[in-house]
Subunit: 185 residues, 2 copies
Protein backbone atom coordinates (compact mmCIF):
# COMPACT_ATOMS: atom_id res chain seq x y z
CA UNK A 1 0.00 0.00 0.00
CA UNK A 2 1.03 3.64 -0.31
CA UNK A 3 3.79 5.13 1.68
CA UNK A 4 2.80 7.31 4.62
CA UNK A 5 1.49 10.76 3.72
CA UNK A 6 4.18 13.37 3.20
CA UNK A 7 2.42 16.69 2.75
CA UNK A 8 4.08 19.59 1.10
CA UNK A 9 6.46 17.58 -1.04
CA UNK A 10 5.71 17.87 -4.71
CA UNK A 11 7.94 14.99 -5.80
CA UNK A 12 6.50 12.67 -3.18
CA UNK A 13 2.93 13.52 -4.15
CA UNK A 14 3.72 12.93 -7.80
CA UNK A 15 5.17 9.54 -6.92
CA UNK A 16 2.13 8.63 -4.87
CA UNK A 17 -0.17 9.52 -7.76
CA UNK A 18 1.91 7.41 -10.14
CA UNK A 19 1.79 4.48 -7.76
CA UNK A 20 -1.95 4.77 -7.22
CA UNK A 21 -2.47 5.03 -10.99
CA UNK A 22 -0.51 1.83 -11.60
CA UNK A 23 -2.65 -0.03 -9.11
CA UNK A 24 -5.94 1.35 -10.40
CA UNK A 25 -5.14 0.72 -14.05
CA UNK A 26 -4.14 -2.87 -13.22
CA UNK A 27 -7.63 -3.52 -11.95
CA UNK A 28 -9.88 -1.76 -14.45
CA UNK A 29 -9.76 -0.25 -17.90
CA UNK A 30 -8.68 3.28 -18.72
CA UNK A 31 -12.26 4.37 -19.24
CA UNK A 32 -13.51 2.90 -16.00
CA UNK A 33 -10.83 4.40 -13.79
CA UNK A 34 -11.57 7.99 -12.84
CA UNK A 35 -9.10 10.63 -11.75
CA UNK A 36 -11.02 10.99 -8.50
CA UNK A 37 -10.44 7.31 -7.77
CA UNK A 38 -6.72 7.55 -8.47
CA UNK A 39 -6.37 10.68 -6.38
CA UNK A 40 -8.26 9.00 -3.57
CA UNK A 41 -5.86 6.07 -3.70
CA UNK A 42 -2.99 8.50 -3.35
CA UNK A 43 -4.70 10.41 -0.56
CA UNK A 44 -4.75 13.72 -2.40
CA UNK A 45 -7.16 15.90 -4.32
CA UNK A 46 -8.18 15.09 -7.89
CA UNK A 47 -7.16 18.50 -9.17
CA UNK A 48 -3.54 17.54 -8.66
CA UNK A 49 -3.75 15.01 -11.44
CA UNK A 50 -4.21 17.74 -13.99
CA UNK A 51 -1.79 20.06 -12.30
CA UNK A 52 1.06 17.58 -12.23
CA UNK A 53 0.39 15.51 -15.36
CA UNK A 54 -1.69 17.78 -17.55
CA UNK A 55 -4.44 15.23 -18.08
CA UNK A 56 -5.59 11.75 -17.20
CA UNK A 57 -3.86 10.46 -20.32
CA UNK A 58 -0.63 12.17 -19.32
CA UNK A 59 -0.72 10.42 -15.98
CA UNK A 60 -1.48 7.10 -17.66
CA UNK A 61 1.43 7.48 -20.07
CA UNK A 62 3.90 8.40 -17.37
CA UNK A 63 2.66 5.68 -15.01
CA UNK A 64 2.70 2.73 -17.40
CA UNK A 65 4.55 3.91 -20.50
CA UNK A 66 7.89 2.39 -19.68
CA UNK A 67 6.97 -0.53 -17.49
CA UNK A 68 7.14 -3.40 -19.95
CA UNK A 69 10.21 -5.53 -19.93
CA UNK A 70 11.13 -9.01 -20.96
CA UNK A 71 14.85 -8.62 -20.37
CA UNK A 72 15.04 -10.62 -17.14
CA UNK A 73 13.41 -13.64 -18.69
CA UNK A 74 15.81 -13.68 -21.63
CA UNK A 75 18.81 -14.29 -19.38
CA UNK A 76 19.60 -17.98 -19.48
CA UNK A 77 19.65 -21.03 -21.65
CA UNK A 78 17.81 -20.87 -24.95
CA UNK A 79 16.54 -24.42 -24.59
CA UNK A 80 14.72 -23.57 -21.35
CA UNK A 81 13.23 -20.17 -22.24
CA UNK A 82 9.86 -21.78 -22.88
CA UNK A 83 9.86 -23.16 -19.36
CA UNK A 84 10.95 -19.86 -17.85
CA UNK A 85 8.17 -18.00 -19.64
CA UNK A 86 5.63 -20.64 -18.67
CA UNK A 87 6.69 -20.51 -15.03
CA UNK A 88 6.41 -16.73 -15.09
CA UNK A 89 2.92 -17.01 -16.55
CA UNK A 90 1.43 -19.50 -14.13
CA UNK A 91 2.80 -17.87 -11.00
CA UNK A 92 0.15 -16.30 -8.75
CA UNK A 93 -0.28 -12.67 -9.66
CA UNK A 94 0.88 -10.25 -7.02
CA UNK A 95 -1.62 -7.68 -5.88
CA UNK A 96 -0.96 -4.21 -7.15
CA UNK A 97 0.80 -3.24 -10.33
CA UNK A 98 0.90 -5.68 -13.24
CA UNK A 99 1.86 -4.16 -16.61
CA UNK A 100 0.36 -7.07 -18.52
CA UNK A 101 -3.03 -6.56 -16.88
CA UNK A 102 -2.83 -2.85 -17.60
CA UNK A 103 -2.31 -3.60 -21.26
CA UNK A 104 -5.04 -6.22 -21.47
CA UNK A 105 -7.58 -4.00 -19.76
CA UNK A 106 -6.86 -0.78 -21.65
CA UNK A 107 -5.63 -1.93 -25.06
CA UNK A 108 -9.09 -1.42 -26.52
CA UNK A 109 -9.15 2.26 -25.62
CA UNK A 110 -7.99 4.35 -28.58
CA UNK A 111 -5.67 6.80 -26.85
CA UNK A 112 -4.50 4.66 -23.96
CA UNK A 113 -3.99 1.80 -26.41
CA UNK A 114 -1.67 3.93 -28.51
CA UNK A 115 0.56 4.54 -25.49
CA UNK A 116 0.66 0.82 -24.78
CA UNK A 117 1.25 -0.22 -28.39
CA UNK A 118 4.45 1.73 -28.81
CA UNK A 119 5.74 0.71 -25.39
CA UNK A 120 5.12 -2.94 -26.18
CA UNK A 121 6.78 -2.80 -29.57
CA UNK A 122 9.90 -1.09 -28.23
CA UNK A 123 10.29 -2.89 -24.94
CA UNK A 124 9.12 -6.43 -25.74
CA UNK A 125 8.50 -7.36 -29.35
CA UNK A 126 11.67 -5.93 -30.86
CA UNK A 127 14.14 -7.23 -28.22
CA UNK A 128 12.51 -10.64 -28.24
CA UNK A 129 12.66 -10.92 -32.03
CA UNK A 130 16.33 -9.95 -31.98
CA UNK A 131 17.07 -12.47 -29.25
CA UNK A 132 15.20 -15.25 -31.06
CA UNK A 133 16.79 -14.77 -34.46
CA UNK A 134 16.46 -17.34 -37.21
CA UNK A 135 13.72 -17.65 -39.79
CA UNK A 136 10.49 -15.71 -39.22
CA UNK A 137 11.87 -14.17 -36.02
CA UNK A 138 9.38 -11.23 -35.93
CA UNK A 139 6.44 -13.56 -36.52
CA UNK A 140 7.62 -16.07 -33.94
CA UNK A 141 8.22 -13.28 -31.42
CA UNK A 142 4.75 -11.90 -32.15
CA UNK A 143 3.22 -15.31 -31.55
CA UNK A 144 5.12 -15.73 -28.27
CA UNK A 145 3.70 -12.38 -27.15
CA UNK A 146 0.26 -13.50 -28.31
CA UNK A 147 0.48 -16.65 -26.18
CA UNK A 148 1.66 -14.70 -23.14
CA UNK A 149 -1.18 -12.21 -23.47
CA UNK A 150 -3.74 -14.82 -24.42
CA UNK A 151 -3.06 -16.86 -21.31
CA UNK A 152 -3.22 -13.94 -18.91
CA UNK A 153 -6.27 -12.49 -20.65
CA UNK A 154 -8.16 -15.76 -20.58
CA UNK A 155 -7.22 -16.55 -17.00
CA UNK A 156 -7.35 -13.15 -15.30
CA UNK A 157 -9.63 -10.94 -17.37
CA UNK A 158 -12.08 -13.45 -18.80
CA UNK A 159 -11.65 -15.70 -15.78
CA UNK A 160 -11.71 -19.13 -17.42
CA UNK A 161 -11.90 -21.68 -14.59
CA UNK A 162 -9.73 -24.24 -16.41
CA UNK A 163 -6.73 -21.92 -16.22
CA UNK A 164 -7.12 -21.09 -12.56
CA UNK A 165 -5.43 -24.13 -11.01
CA UNK A 166 -3.33 -27.13 -12.02
CA UNK A 167 -0.24 -25.01 -12.28
CA UNK A 168 2.13 -27.87 -13.07
CA UNK A 169 -0.09 -29.20 -15.85
CA UNK A 170 -0.56 -25.79 -17.40
CA UNK A 171 3.13 -25.07 -17.16
CA UNK A 172 4.03 -28.27 -18.98
CA UNK A 173 1.73 -27.59 -21.94
CA UNK A 174 2.55 -23.89 -22.05
CA UNK A 175 6.28 -24.55 -21.89
CA UNK A 176 6.08 -26.96 -24.82
CA UNK A 177 4.06 -24.53 -26.92
CA UNK A 178 6.35 -21.61 -26.21
CA UNK A 179 9.49 -23.64 -26.82
CA UNK A 180 8.10 -24.68 -30.20
CA UNK A 181 7.86 -21.01 -31.16
CA UNK A 182 11.29 -20.24 -29.74
CA UNK A 183 12.92 -23.07 -31.67
CA UNK A 184 10.97 -22.27 -34.82
CA UNK A 185 10.33 -25.87 -35.78
Amino acid sequence: MPTPPVTGDRAATRARLLDAARRSFSGASYGEVGVREIAGGAGVNAALVNRYFGSKLGLFAEAVGDSFTIGNLLVGDRATLGDRLARYLVRPRPDGFDPTLVLLRSAAHPEAGAVLRSALAEQVAAPLAAWLGGADAPQRAGLVVAVLFGFTLTRDVIGAPALGGERETLMRHLGAVLQRLIDGA
Copy 2:
Protein backbone atom coordinates in the same frame (compact mmCIF):
# COMPACT_ATOMS: atom_id res chain seq x y z
CA MET B 1 -40.48 -15.04 -47.13
CA PRO B 2 -37.84 -12.50 -46.12
CA THR B 3 -39.14 -9.29 -44.69
CA PRO B 4 -37.29 -6.19 -45.89
CA PRO B 5 -36.79 -3.33 -43.41
CA VAL B 6 -40.10 -1.57 -43.08
CA THR B 7 -40.54 1.43 -40.86
CA GLY B 8 -43.32 1.04 -38.44
CA ASP B 9 -42.53 -2.61 -37.90
CA ARG B 10 -41.48 -3.29 -34.36
CA ALA B 11 -39.79 -6.62 -35.07
CA ALA B 12 -37.84 -5.18 -37.98
CA THR B 13 -36.64 -2.23 -35.92
CA ARG B 14 -35.57 -4.53 -33.14
CA ALA B 15 -33.59 -6.60 -35.63
CA ARG B 16 -31.93 -3.50 -37.05
CA LEU B 17 -30.91 -2.38 -33.57
CA LEU B 18 -29.45 -5.80 -32.82
CA ASP B 19 -27.50 -5.76 -36.05
CA ALA B 20 -26.17 -2.27 -35.48
CA ALA B 21 -25.20 -3.21 -31.92
CA ARG B 22 -23.20 -6.21 -33.14
CA ARG B 23 -21.26 -4.03 -35.55
CA SER B 24 -20.63 -1.27 -33.03
CA PHE B 25 -19.51 -3.61 -30.26
CA SER B 26 -17.11 -5.33 -32.68
CA GLY B 27 -15.29 -2.06 -33.17
CA ALA B 28 -15.13 -0.55 -29.70
CA SER B 29 -15.59 -1.51 -26.07
CA TYR B 30 -18.88 -1.57 -24.22
CA GLY B 31 -18.07 1.64 -22.43
CA GLU B 32 -17.05 3.49 -25.54
CA VAL B 33 -20.10 2.58 -27.58
CA GLY B 34 -23.07 4.82 -26.83
CA VAL B 35 -26.70 4.04 -27.39
CA ARG B 36 -26.89 7.06 -29.69
CA GLU B 37 -24.25 5.55 -31.93
CA ILE B 38 -26.03 2.21 -32.10
CA ALA B 39 -29.38 3.84 -32.78
CA GLY B 40 -27.78 5.97 -35.47
CA GLY B 41 -26.39 2.86 -37.12
CA ALA B 42 -29.87 1.41 -37.15
CA GLY B 43 -31.39 4.64 -38.42
CA VAL B 44 -33.69 5.10 -35.46
CA ASN B 45 -33.92 7.14 -32.29
CA ALA B 46 -31.87 6.30 -29.22
CA ALA B 47 -34.92 6.11 -26.99
CA LEU B 48 -35.94 2.91 -28.74
CA VAL B 49 -32.98 1.09 -27.24
CA ASN B 50 -34.44 1.41 -23.79
CA ARG B 51 -37.96 0.85 -24.97
CA TYR B 52 -37.18 -2.42 -26.72
CA PHE B 53 -34.33 -3.82 -24.63
CA GLY B 54 -34.75 -2.13 -21.26
CA SER B 55 -31.19 -0.89 -21.10
CA LYS B 56 -27.93 -0.75 -22.98
CA LEU B 57 -26.80 -3.90 -21.18
CA GLY B 58 -29.99 -5.68 -22.18
CA LEU B 59 -29.30 -4.87 -25.80
CA PHE B 60 -25.70 -6.02 -25.44
CA ALA B 61 -26.73 -9.34 -23.91
CA GLU B 62 -29.35 -10.05 -26.54
CA ALA B 63 -27.06 -8.98 -29.39
CA VAL B 64 -23.95 -10.95 -28.49
CA GLY B 65 -24.98 -13.35 -25.74
CA ASP B 66 -25.42 -16.38 -27.93
CA SER B 67 -23.06 -15.69 -30.79
CA PHE B 68 -20.05 -17.77 -29.85
CA THR B 69 -19.64 -21.06 -31.56
CA ILE B 70 -16.81 -23.41 -32.32
CA GLY B 71 -18.96 -26.21 -33.66
CA ASN B 72 -18.23 -25.70 -37.34
CA LEU B 73 -14.51 -25.94 -36.79
CA LEU B 74 -14.79 -29.20 -34.88
CA VAL B 75 -16.22 -31.02 -37.87
CA GLY B 76 -13.40 -32.95 -39.50
CA ASP B 77 -10.26 -34.89 -38.85
CA ARG B 78 -8.71 -34.61 -35.43
CA ALA B 79 -5.19 -34.57 -36.86
CA THR B 80 -5.93 -31.42 -38.86
CA LEU B 81 -7.93 -29.41 -36.31
CA GLY B 82 -4.85 -27.33 -35.54
CA ASP B 83 -4.60 -26.33 -39.18
CA ARG B 84 -8.31 -25.56 -39.44
CA LEU B 85 -8.16 -23.32 -36.38
CA ALA B 86 -5.00 -21.64 -37.66
CA ARG B 87 -6.55 -21.00 -41.06
CA TYR B 88 -9.62 -19.56 -39.39
CA LEU B 89 -7.42 -17.27 -37.31
CA VAL B 90 -5.24 -15.85 -40.07
CA ARG B 91 -8.04 -15.22 -42.51
CA PRO B 92 -8.78 -11.55 -43.17
CA ARG B 93 -11.43 -10.36 -40.78
CA PRO B 94 -14.70 -9.46 -42.41
CA ASP B 95 -16.05 -6.05 -41.69
CA GLY B 96 -18.98 -6.06 -39.38
CA PHE B 97 -19.78 -8.49 -36.62
CA ASP B 98 -17.01 -10.56 -35.07
CA PRO B 99 -17.85 -12.21 -31.73
CA THR B 100 -14.19 -12.66 -30.86
CA LEU B 101 -13.53 -8.93 -31.21
CA VAL B 102 -16.60 -8.17 -29.13
CA LEU B 103 -15.24 -10.32 -26.36
CA LEU B 104 -11.71 -8.93 -26.54
CA ARG B 105 -12.92 -5.34 -26.49
CA SER B 106 -15.50 -5.65 -23.71
CA ALA B 107 -14.19 -8.46 -21.50
CA ALA B 108 -12.68 -5.91 -19.11
CA HIS B 109 -16.04 -4.26 -18.44
CA PRO B 110 -17.59 -5.74 -15.28
CA GLU B 111 -21.18 -6.20 -16.43
CA ALA B 112 -20.60 -6.77 -20.13
CA GLY B 113 -17.76 -9.14 -19.24
CA ALA B 114 -20.10 -11.25 -17.13
CA VAL B 115 -22.41 -11.73 -20.10
CA LEU B 116 -19.46 -12.77 -22.25
CA ARG B 117 -17.90 -15.07 -19.66
CA SER B 118 -20.89 -17.32 -19.32
CA ALA B 119 -21.50 -17.40 -23.06
CA LEU B 120 -17.91 -18.39 -23.70
CA ALA B 121 -17.91 -21.14 -21.09
CA GLU B 122 -21.11 -22.70 -22.38
CA GLN B 123 -20.62 -22.29 -26.10
CA VAL B 124 -16.88 -22.78 -26.55
CA ALA B 125 -14.83 -24.02 -23.60
CA ALA B 126 -17.10 -26.87 -22.52
CA PRO B 127 -17.82 -28.31 -26.01
CA LEU B 128 -14.17 -28.07 -26.96
CA ALA B 129 -12.99 -29.82 -23.81
CA ALA B 130 -15.51 -32.61 -24.41
CA TRP B 131 -14.42 -32.95 -28.03
CA LEU B 132 -10.74 -33.03 -27.10
CA GLY B 133 -10.97 -35.60 -24.35
CA GLY B 134 -7.90 -37.30 -22.91
CA ALA B 135 -5.72 -36.13 -20.07
CA ASP B 136 -6.04 -32.51 -18.92
CA ALA B 137 -8.83 -31.86 -21.45
CA PRO B 138 -10.21 -28.75 -19.68
CA GLN B 139 -6.74 -27.25 -19.35
CA ARG B 140 -5.82 -28.03 -22.94
CA ALA B 141 -9.13 -26.59 -24.17
CA GLY B 142 -8.53 -23.50 -22.06
CA LEU B 143 -5.08 -23.08 -23.58
CA VAL B 144 -6.46 -23.48 -27.11
CA VAL B 145 -8.95 -20.72 -26.35
CA ALA B 146 -6.13 -18.63 -24.90
CA VAL B 147 -4.10 -18.99 -28.10
CA LEU B 148 -7.09 -18.11 -30.28
CA PHE B 149 -7.85 -15.01 -28.22
CA GLY B 150 -4.20 -14.08 -27.81
CA PHE B 151 -3.58 -14.08 -31.53
CA THR B 152 -6.62 -11.99 -32.41
CA LEU B 153 -6.01 -9.64 -29.51
CA THR B 154 -2.39 -9.07 -30.40
CA ARG B 155 -3.07 -8.68 -34.10
CA ASP B 156 -6.35 -6.76 -34.19
CA VAL B 157 -6.66 -4.94 -30.87
CA ILE B 158 -3.02 -4.26 -30.00
CA GLY B 159 -2.09 -4.14 -33.66
CA ALA B 160 1.29 -5.88 -33.60
CA PRO B 161 2.80 -5.41 -37.07
CA ALA B 162 4.47 -8.84 -37.09
CA LEU B 163 1.07 -10.55 -37.09
CA GLY B 164 -0.39 -8.43 -39.87
CA GLY B 165 1.01 -10.25 -42.88
CA GLU B 166 2.88 -13.45 -43.78
CA ARG B 167 -0.28 -15.47 -43.50
CA GLU B 168 1.28 -18.77 -44.57
CA THR B 169 4.17 -18.43 -42.12
CA LEU B 170 1.87 -17.55 -39.24
CA MET B 171 -0.48 -20.36 -40.14
CA ARG B 172 2.31 -22.91 -40.08
CA HIS B 173 3.54 -21.94 -36.61
CA LEU B 174 0.04 -21.46 -35.22
CA GLY B 175 -1.13 -24.79 -36.60
CA ALA B 176 1.79 -26.60 -34.96
CA VAL B 177 1.18 -24.92 -31.61
CA LEU B 178 -2.54 -25.62 -31.63
CA GLN B 179 -2.09 -29.22 -32.74
CA ARG B 180 0.32 -29.75 -29.84
CA LEU B 181 -2.44 -28.73 -27.45
CA ILE B 182 -5.04 -30.81 -29.27
CA ASP B 183 -2.87 -33.93 -29.16
CA GLY B 184 -1.83 -33.28 -25.57
CA ALA B 185 1.79 -34.32 -26.05
